[in-house]
């Protein structure tokens, strides 16, 4: 419907938004997506959404300050008692 090749460009662009924001597209491919997104509201918004997604996920730092449990080496200590001179595989 409408512009020849538009549907192909649209589907292709939607599949490559992450590559686009990651900088993984070659120059020609990037130009293709840029050209399509200029006229496509969905893809223009898709680019903004993908940027926002990466930014938001990078900010998923709600666990900052979480400490490893004191028990983290318990099994090593148990094993170390019997293997202190020879870890398995030595």
């Amino acid at each position: 419907m409408g512009i020849p090749g538009h549907t192909d460009d649209h589907r292709w662009s939607q599949q490559h938004l992450s590559h686009y924001v990651e900088g993984d597209l070659r120059r020609r491919a990037r130009r293709r997506l840029d050209r399509h997104a200029r006229d496509c509201v969905d893809c223009g918004r898709g680019i903004r959404a993908m940027h926002a997604l990466v930014y938001a996920v990078q900010g998923l730092d709600g666990l900052a300050g979480v400490r490893a449990p004191a028990s983290i080496f318990d099994r090593v200590r148990l094993a170390g008692g019997s293997e202190s001179l020879s870890p398995r595989g030595a």
Binding site: G23, S84, G89
Partner: protein, 229 residues
């Protein structure tokens, strides 16, 4: 000890399948914050590896404790369950201790340890999937902290986005979740993240892009653009 390349970005993948190179001396931070027992000079990471390989448990603990908090956070993100993350963290350390003699320094110690963690997390997730009544991932383990934004409505949008992102990440297949957590949440370079995931950089990128597309579809552009903008 400085965590390796948190936040590092490499916009272009030059050699997608280049093998890991390096030596223990090339480890991300070769100086340990701790000193050798009684002798004074700070122990290097390579020195601690050598002592651990000789069977010195305390050297192994000193070596690994520099990464313990971050490793535990990774497990929490991958598993979404604190009790399970604690159990798997102990198992990771045990596996690392048992395998330290085979560590040859082709990657950094951090990468090697993280790779064990990802493998153990995947093993735990496989076990969970085989359980008749699987334990649901607790979304809150994957969420962000509160935002200091002043505007309450904006705060609410950001908070909703965090919840939605947490759910979307928790709903990803393990391989895709691992990719997005290592690259986007942990901020590792593609090379490091691919090495930890045990796949080529090209395969890792493919997983990452798939993961992002799925998260985007699950969260929706509207929520992302509104809260992100």
């Amino acid at each position: 000890m400085t965590p390796p390349s948190r936040g590092k970005r490499d916009p272009e993948v030059a050699a997608a399948d280049s093998p890991a190179t390096g030596s223990p001396a090339r480890a991300p931070a070769t100086r340990s914050p701790a000193s050798s027992p009684a002798t004074g000079p700070p122990a290097t990471e390579a020195g601690l590896v050598a002592r651990a390989q000789a069977g010195d448990v305390s050297a192994f603990e000193q070596l690994s404790s520099a990464y313990a908090d971050r490793l535990f956070m990774l497990l929490l993100r991958l598993l979404g369950d604190r009790a399970e993350a604690e159990d798997v963290a102990q198992e990771v350390m045990l596996r690392a201790w048992q395998g330290i003699a085979r560590f040859q320094g082709r990657s950094s110690y951090f990468t090697w340890l993280y790779r064990i963690a990802v493998n153990e997390a995947n093993r735990a997730l496989d076990k969970r999937a085989r359980r008749p009544a699987g334990v649901a991932i607790r979304d809150q383990e994957l969420q962000l902290p509160g935002s200091p934004a002043d505007d309450p409505s904006r705060q609410a949008e950001v908070s909703e986005l965090r919840v939605a992102l947490g759910r979307a990440l928790a709903g990803l297949p393990p391989a895709l979740r691992t990719a997005i957590v290592l690259r986007d949440v942990e901020g590792l370079s593609t090379q490091e993240a691919a090495e930890i995931a045990g796949v080529s950089q090209a395969a890792f990128k493919s997983r990452l892009h798939q993961a992002r597309l799925r998260v985007r579809a699950a969260v929706g552009d509207e929520a992302l653009v509104t809260a992100g903008g």
